[in-house]
């Protein structure tokens, strides 16, 4: 058997050139916190690792007047240390900060969390709620795709041969926008979401909801946008009846599995509870922004 190669290209083009060569069975390598584990467990046997950390674009956080961009190979620790990013997208930053220990945070990247495509990945519901698009480079050029549209099933995205995510871009949130991400785990730290809920809310000057997005993780084969949540919240204030409808819509969106970490019944119920709690936090933040 040929020994695995390690390559660290310095441009996007050079990375694509390596990734299209399927005879080498290449894999994109960023933080390595999932990939090295899979490699050592012999779950994967790539012929080549293409390290994207030496390329400029996946390593940058860019905050401009219109758009915010987080490079796919930016680590959780780096995201958590960016105060401006935290103020703009507290839900996304909170979600990334929940992934693993501080040691894992030093390496694990936002793009890796997404591409590992775990249904329970913490960053994914938050990215969907924040209306993020993935900027994907590949042999046919660059395309921008809503993150939710890239998720196929557990462990699989719809990225094609030679493609990799360079960054995630977000429209700058309008005034009076707030975000939050909450998850349920049986412990207080270092665990995998049983349910995750990401919310983004924008308020009108009269305090009613102008726009809202709710996304859930760990309750279906992929994280998903709860589309009815927007209609339930828009035009309304955060009153009891509205919250009851929101919880019901969140629970109705669930198609979870039964496993040792949570039953179908539990996950379905908790999805409603977390949707409401995260919405309340996002709402309070929106009032202050």
């Amino acid at each position: 058997m040929n020994e695995m190669r390690y390559e660290a290209p310095e441009t996007i083009e050079a990375a694509i050139a390596l990734l299209v060569a399927q005879e080498h069975q290449p894999r994109v390598f960023a933080g390595g916190t999932d990939l090295i584990v899979q490699l050592k467990a012999e779950m994967i046997e790539p012929g080549m690792l293409v390290d994207i950390k030496k390329i400029k674009e996946p390593r940058e956080i860019i905050i401009s007047a219109e758009e915010i961009s987080i490079g796919s190979a930016v680590s959780g620790a780096e995201i958590g240390e960016n105060a401006e990013l935290k103020a703009l997208f507290p839900g996304v930053v909170e979600s990334v900060q929940l992934i693993g220990s501080d040691q894992v945070q030093g390496r694990a990247t936002i793009g890796g969390n997404f591409c590992n495509a775990s249904p329970a990945a913490d960053s994914v519901p938050a990215l969907i709620a924040a209306n993020a698009k993935a900027v994907i480079a590949g042999p046919d050029g660059v395309r921008k795709v809503d993150v939710a549209d890239l998720l196929v099933k557990p462990g699989q995205t719809s990225l094609t041969t030679g493609e990799f995510i360079v960054s995630f871009v977000f429209p700058r949130p309008p005034k009076n926008t707030g975000e939050a991400y909450l998850r349920f785990i049986p412990r207080t730290e270092m665990d995998i979401a049983v349910v995750g809920a990401g919310v983004s809310v924008t308020l009108n000057p009269d305090g009613t909801c102008a726009a809202a997005r709710l996304a859930l993780g760990a309750v279906a084969p992929t994280a998903r946008l709860v589309e009815p949540a927007s209609d339930i919240l828009v035009g309304n204030k955060l009153e009891e009846g509205v919250l009851a409808d929101l919880a019901a819509a969140a629970s109705a969106a669930c198609q979870p599995i039964d496993d040792k970490r949570g039953t179908i019944e539990f996950r379905t119920k908790v999805a409603g509870v977390l949707a409401c709690r995260a919405t309340k936090i996002a709402w309070e933040r929106a009032e202050k922004n």
Partner: protein, 160 residues
Amino acid sequence: MSKYLVTANINGDEVDFACHADQTLMEILRENLNMTGTKNGCGSGDCGACTVIMNGRPVNSCLVLGAELQGAEIETIEGMSKGNELHPLQQKFLDHAALQCGICTPGFLNMAKSLLEKNPDPTETEVRYALAGNLCRCTGYDKIVRAVLDAAEEMRTTSS
């Protein structure tokens, strides 16, 4: 045959090593460089025993590849004391009997050192969260947390 020739700075010294693409930093430290202070616990980033400081951040060295380390700065447990003078954290771990078998200790020490550099006056809760990625199966965590808090206090006193 090893394919990758890498020069990294380890505990202040330029070190050259040759490695395969699938060799982790932990394996290189222990097997190529005979720096066995870094311990192999789980090999999957769960236990923190192999924690080292890489370019100023704590990482699990079992989840870092040697091939990516050209020019990197690595701090391991071997660099923590100054000659025979123990780091305050090391001394406090002894004073508080915060270790038994010792396998988890280098990882805890590196993690605690990294925490105190960022936050010289942590609360007990902050210490517990910072050490959440380090598992100890014999001493228990109370003595470790007390040792870290005591070292933090001493380091604040001596630096002020």
